[in-house]
Amino acid sequence: MQLAQLFPSLKIHHIYPTRQNFATSIFYDSTNTCWYEIAKSEITVRDSLYLKHFYTECTEQVDPWLLLLTQGIVPKETPYSSVRILQYHAKKDAHQLRDAVELFFMHDAYLLEVSSDTFWIILFKDYSLEELEGFLAILENDFYLHGQLFIGQILPVTEMLHTSFKSEQKIFQSIQNLQYQTIYTFTESFQSLLPLYLNTPIQQYLKLTLLTDLNEEMITTITTLFIHNGNMSSAAKELHIHRNTLLYRVQRYSEETALDLRRNEDLLLAYLAAQLQKLTKYS
């Protein structure tokens, strides 16, 4: 048959093919009652016009990415071994999002419209965090779109992908309720949420032993110190206080709790306790 010569990847199906590969298009031949599956890479714009003239393209199928992300159905062949998923929650009409995604990521991304305000952007290539943050700036600056962006981790494409992605969705939801930001990364959110995942006895222990009702200043101090890996100079700079003032606070804290914030393990504990107090205050 001629089609097979034109398109080496051609597969002929005699029942409606339920699972579509990411990289293929499917055409229905009504004279012969069969379906042709052809690799997209082999179809030129011109080919596409011819094929659509003779056959009907089957586009109404469930999106394979959606199947993968919601049910873990991995397509037979996938050119991607790992992906990063961005979740975007639009606060305003986002019909321009598709243009923005194409301009920004070119062929490196696939946009899934999950609902009118929820979008998943699947990235096939790696972009730096700085670039991804720039994407949100582009949305605001050039497209006047307003929303929140959650940047997931790089995940392997396996039948477990939907499970990992579900966790990312949950984390996005929790962090959104906790603190409003326009951009979240997984790692940052995880760090903020960590205290909530401690079991009850540990939470209670931290509250009873370390929380002699820390004031706002001390909470900020501990948090900043933790974010700066215990580096006094850079933490002091961010806090706009002198290094010695910070040292003074650290000493005062140590007198009250016997925790030395210059030690990693002590700082972690103090950080968790401080976050816990902050979180419970809000709820």
Binding site: L103, F104, F105, M106, Y127, E130, E131, E133, G134, L136, A137, I138, E140, N141, D142, Y144, H146, Y180, I183, K237, H240, I241, H242, N244, T245, L247, Y248
Partner: protein, 360 residues
Amino acid sequence: MLDFDHLVKRYPDGYVAVENFHLKVEPGEFLVLVGPSGCGKSTTLRMVAGLESISDGELRIDGKRVNEVEPKDRDIAMVFQNYALYPHMNVYDNMAFGLKLRKFSKEQIDVKVREAAAILGLTDLLDKKPKSLSGGQRQRVALGRAIVRDAKLFLMDEPLSNLDAKLRVQMRSEITKLHYRLNTTTIYVTHDQTEAMTMASRIVVMKDGIIQQIGIPREVYDTPENVFVGGFIGSPAMNFLRGNVVGDYFEIANEKVRIPDEKLKILKDQNYVNREIILGIRPEDINDGNKQDSSTLVTTKVQVSELTGAEMIVYATIADQQFVGKIHADADVAMGQELPLNFNLAKAHFFDPATEIRIR
């Protein structure tokens, strides 16, 4: 040029992020909004941009209400902390993009892009992709994207916070020069008081969504309205010491400093005699200069001292109240030692302990 008329931002969850923001911005001004994290700076800026709706009050540009005007129709250019750059486009196309959207001709675009590139020193980089640029160069391209627009108003939200300390200082002066050259009205948001002090033609200090003080940098530094502004502007920060007005003196435990006549009169007029007040005094006004006048000399106890080169910063206490002073670099001080220091109250301020407002 830009009128904030009692603006309020109430978020859907009920949180009031900006309260009663009232201010007129003059043409050509470089207005800096400064304040701690979460005080509503970005929210204010985003209301101007049209990215956040205005809950109450009116915003006017050149006398016209713009509350309901679409962001794209406001003739405003923005620069954010995160650089709005397309990774697959070169510098030229990145700068040209906003103009293409606005349907400028190829020739017009070319002129504007090359002009902006020349101003920003990007001419040799026009065919480079963002990835191959340094952080400072990327920041410049982001600025270039705003400049080419010839917008009526620039909004900048912490544009330097992704740069390292050294570059930040350099870009600070570049933005100032740029403003001098273009003279475009600019609102600049930062949480860094040094940036505010060095760049602003006027500073707006905010806290908890409320304006604390508006003024030129010198005014805000010299005459802070309240304890918050005094402590926020200036580094090392202003010292605050609690004491009592007794006779002509400000007393902390056994130590006392003579209050200058002019200030004493105010305290007397306002009935602060024999009451507790807060003294706000900057580190440079506590020194070891004048050892003759015993009426301003206070005995303090040294905790730590730190040589910065030209001067020495000394951390000391009076009756357990901590403060910072600046003394001569060659002074010989030891930890725990008693040290007489000169308190120059002429430049100090007194604050009400309850309201924390400056007494005047």
